[in-house]
C-alpha cells in the first residue's frame, strides 16, 4: 500500500490533498461527513482584519462544468477565527492552513500580526492576493508584480517563521513574473491557481447572473488552466513547493497537477458536491501509486515526461 505522506516545502503532510479556501469553511460543517484528521490539511476561508459582509445575492450561478461565484469574502474576521475556529480545528487533529485577505497592504499585515501572536498551531498561511487593492484603483494585488512583492514581503516579515504560500491569480499575462515577485518577497511556496474571471448573463432579463456582475470561475472547467499554470511555474522555479488547485473532481485531476509539479493539491468546488471529496481523491492517488509501483508521492511531483 502506497504511503501518502508528502513534503510541501518545510511541511510534512499526511497526504497531499487539502481542502481549498472558501470551499470547506473552517471545517465544522464538513466534519459531519469526514474526519478532519483524515485530510492532508484544511485551508480555511480567507479571513480579514475586521468581519466582511460580502456581496449581495445572487452570488453564484452554475456554468458548463463549473460555477461562477462572487461572494466577497464574507467572513467573521481573524479574531473570531483565533478564538472560535482554530482551537476547535486543532482539537480535531486537523492540519490548519490559515488564509488571509485584505484591501490594503496594511490590512494584510494586521491579520498576519494577529496570527503570529494568536495563531499557535497553524501549519502555514495562504495569502489570498486575489483581492482588489484599494490603493491601486482596485486592481488585484495578484495582477501587479510590485503589489504582490509588497504584500508578500510585509506578510512574511510579520509572520516570521510560519511558511507562507501566496495564492496567485491565473488572470495575468505573465504568471512567472508575478511568481518571481512573490518569491523575492519571501514566499516559501506558491498556491496555483485561484478562480478565473468570468461572467454570465440572463438573456431573458438582460441582467448579469451575479449581483457582483463579474465572478470567479471554478470547477472542472478550469482544470486545464491550473495544470498549465503549475507546469509553467514548476518549469521556471523547479525548487519551489506548489499547492496545485483548480478543477479537481477526482484523483486523475489531482495527479495531473502533481505530475505538472505540485507537491500538494487542494480540492475546491468538488467539496460542494461531495463533502468527502478530499478523502476520495487521496484514496484514488494511493491506488494509482499501487498500480504504478510508486511508494512515495515525491516520485510523482513534476514527473511529467515531455519528449525531445
Amino acid at each position: 500500500m502506497a504511503i501518502l505522506t508528502s513534503r510541501l516545502g518545510p511541511l510534512d503532510l499526511q497526504n497531499p490533498v487539502l481542502a481549498a479556501s472558501g470551499t470547506f469553511g473552517a471545517g465544522r460543517e464538513g466534519s459531519v461527513f469526514v474526519n478532519l484528521d483524515e485530510l492532508g490539511g484544511i485551508i480555511v476561508k480567507s479571513m480579514t482584519v475586521t468581519p466582511w459582509k460580502g456581496k449581495p445575492t445572487p452570488r453564484m450561478c452554475e456554468t458548463p462544468s463549473g460555477m461562477l461565484n462572487a461572494i466577497g469574502i464574507q467572513n467573521k474576521g481573524v479574531d473570531r477565527f483565533i478564538s472560535e475556529d482554530l482551537p476547535w480545528l486543532l482539537k480535531q487533529g486537523a492540519t490548519v492552513f490559515a488564509s488571509i485577505a485584505g484591501n490594503t497592504v496594511d490590512e494584510f499585515v494586521r491579520v498576519a500580526d494577529k496570527l503570529r501572536t494568536g495563531g499557535r498551531g497553524i501549519a502555514a498561511v495562504e495569502v489570498n492576493i486575489s483581492c482588489p487593492n484599494l490603493e491601486d484603483r482596485n486592481n488585484m494585488f495578484s495582477h501587479s508584480p510590485a503589489a504582490t512583492a509588497a504584500v508578500v514581503g510585509k506578510v512574511k516579515a510579520a509572520l516570521k517563521r510560519v511558511p507562507i504560500f501566496p495564492k496567485l491569480s491565473p488572470n495575468v499575462t505573465s504568471l512567472s513574473k508575478i511568481a518571481e515577485a512573490a518569491l523575492n518577497g519571501g514566499a516559501d511556496g506558491l498556491s496555483l491557481v485561484n478562480t478565473v474571471f468570468g461572467m454570465a448573463i440572463d438573456v431573458e432579463t438582460r441582467r448579469p447572473k451575479l449581483a457582483g456582475v463579474v465572478g470567479g470561475l471554478s470547477g472542472p472547467a478550469i482544470h486545464p488552466i491550473a495544470v498549465r499554470a503549475v507546469h509553467e511555474i514548476h518549469s521556471n522555479f523547479p525548487h519551489v513547493p506548489i499547492i496545485g488547485q483548480g478543477g479537481i473532481a477526482g484523483a486523475e485531476d489531482a495527479l495531473q497537477l502533481i505530475l505538472a509539479g505540485a507537491s500538494a493539491v487542494a480540492v475546491g468546488t468538488m467539496n460542494f458536491v461531495d463533502p468527502s471529496a478530499c478523502r476520495t481523491v487521496a484514496e484514488g492517488i494511493a491506488s494509482y501509486m499501487d498500480r504504478h509501483h510508486v511508494t512515495d508521492v515525491a516520485e510523482l511531483v513534476g514527473a511529467l515526461k515531455i519528449e525531445g
Binding site: 470547506f24 476561508k45 452554475e62 461565484n69 464574507q74 467573521k76 472542472p220 467539496n271 458536491v273
Partner: protein, 311 residues
C-alpha cells in the same frame, strides 16, 4: 439535526397534477429525521457539465407501513438537474445529503396556523400541515399560482385544511388574483396566530409585509441559489436585520445568514427584502407582537443567533 450523505432508491416516479413530477425515495436515515421545512440536496447524475447538487424541499414523509422511511419530493422541470430527475424510474439510485437546514418552528401551544404557498414553492407546506394537525393545531391554507395547472396540491389542501382558499392570476380556479389579495381577510376570518409561507421571493416579501402590518408572526421558507447546501460556500445568504447595537446604522445591523444552515426557514419580518429601501427601521418590537404566539410558535428573537457563525 445532523445531515447525512446517503443513498436512496427510487420507489416511484409519477406525474403530479398537470405540471409537476413526484419522486418517492426510500432513504430511511433521512426519512426518519427530517422535519417540515428541511430539504435534501440531490446529485443529479454524474454528468460533469452540470456538477452541483440541487436542493428540494421534502414534500411528504411516510413513516409507517409499506412505504416506511420514504421521502417524497415534487418538482418542476427547469433545467438539467430536474430533467435528470424526471428521467429516474423505480430502483434508480440517488445520492442525497440531508436532512438539511432548519425547518419550521411549530407552535408550543395550540394555535390557528395559516399556510400560504405559491406554485411549486408550496411543496414543504403539506408535510408541515401533517405535523401541525398531528399536534392538534388548526390548519388553514391559501394556495396561489398563475393558473390552475400550476397550483400544487389543491385537492390535498382542501382535505387537510379547515379553510382552504386558492387564487389564480388568470381566474382559472378560485379567486382571481394573488395570495396576498386574500391574505388579510383570511387572517381576520380564521383568527390566524401564525403564518407559514413559501413560494417565490416577491410573494414572500408581500406576505411578510402584510403579516407585519397585521402583527402576526410569519415564518418563510426561502429558496436562494445554493452551491453546497451544507454551509461552507456562503452563496445562499439572506440579508437579515438584527437589532442595531448602539451607534450602529440600520445598514450595519444587517447580517447575511446562510439559508442552507441558518434557514431556509426565517422570520419573514426580519428579512431585508428590498435592499436599502427596506431599511427604514422597523421597530424590533413589532417582530414579536404581544399576544401572538411568537415566543412559543414564532421564531425566537434571532439577534445574534443569525450572525453567520460559520465562515
Amino acid at each position: 439535526m445532523t445531515m447525512l450523505l446517503a443513498s436512496g432508491e427510487v420507489l416511484s416516479h409519477k406525474k403530479y397534477g398537470e405540471h409537476y413530477h413526484s419522486l418517492t425515495i426510500v432513504t430511511p436515515d433521512i426519512g426518519e429525521r427530517v422535519r417540515p421545512g428541511q430539504f435534501v440536496s440531490i446529485r443529479c447524475g454524474e454528468n460533469r457539465a452540470s456538477i452541483l447538487r440541487r436542493p428540494f424541499s421534502v414534500y411528504r414523509v411516510h413513516k409507517r407501513g409499506g412505504w416506511a422511511s420514504t421521502i417524497e419530493i415534487v418538482f418542476d422541470i427547469r433545467g438539467p438537474g430536474t430533467t435528470h430527475l424526471s428521467q429516474l424510474r423505480g430502483h434508480s439510485i440517488v445520492d442525497l445529503i440531508g436532512p438539511s437546514g432548519r425547518g419550521f418552528v411549530l407552535p408550543k401551544r395550540r394555535a390557528h396556523c395559516l399556510l400560504v404557498g405559491g406554485g411549486i414553492g408550496a411543496a414543504p407546506l403539506f408535510f408541515l400541515a401533517d405535523e401541525l394537525r398531528n399536534e392538534g393545531h388548526r390548519v388553514d391554507v391559501i394556495l396561489g399560482a398563475r393558473n390552475s395547472g400550476l397550483l400544487l396540491g389543491a385537492i390535498e389542501a382542501r382535505r387537510l385544511a379547515s379553510v382552504c382558499r386558492t387564487t389564480t392570476e388568470d381566474g382559472s380556479m378560485g379567486d382571481t388574483g394573488r395570495v396576498t389579495d386574500v391574505l388579510s381577510d383570511t387572517i381576520r376570518r380564521c383568527e390566524t396566530e401564525v403564518v407559514y409561507a413559501c413560494g417565490p421571493h416577491p410573494m414572500l416579501a408581500a406576505v411578510s409585509r402584510i403579516c407585519l402590518e397585521q402583527k402576526v408572526p410569519i415564518q418563510v421558507a426561502v429558496e436562494e441559489l445554493m452551491a453546497c447546501g451544507y454551509g461552507v460556500c456562503m452563496t445562499c445568504v439572506m440579508p437579515l436585520r438584527r437589532p442595531p447595537k448602539r451607534d450602529e446604522s440600520p445598514e450595519d445591523a444587517v447580517v447575511y445568514a446562510r439559508s442552507c444552515t441558518e434557514g431556509p426557514v426565517f422570520n419573514g419580518a426580519q428579512i431585508v427584502w428590498n435592499g436599502a429601501a427596506d431599511l427604514v427601521a422597523v421597530d424590533q418590537g413589532e417582530l414579536t407582537p404581544a399576544g401572538a404566539p411568537t415566543r412559543h410558535g414564532g421564531i425566537e428573537d434571532p439577534s445574534d443567533e443569525h450572525a453567520p457563525p460559520g465562515n
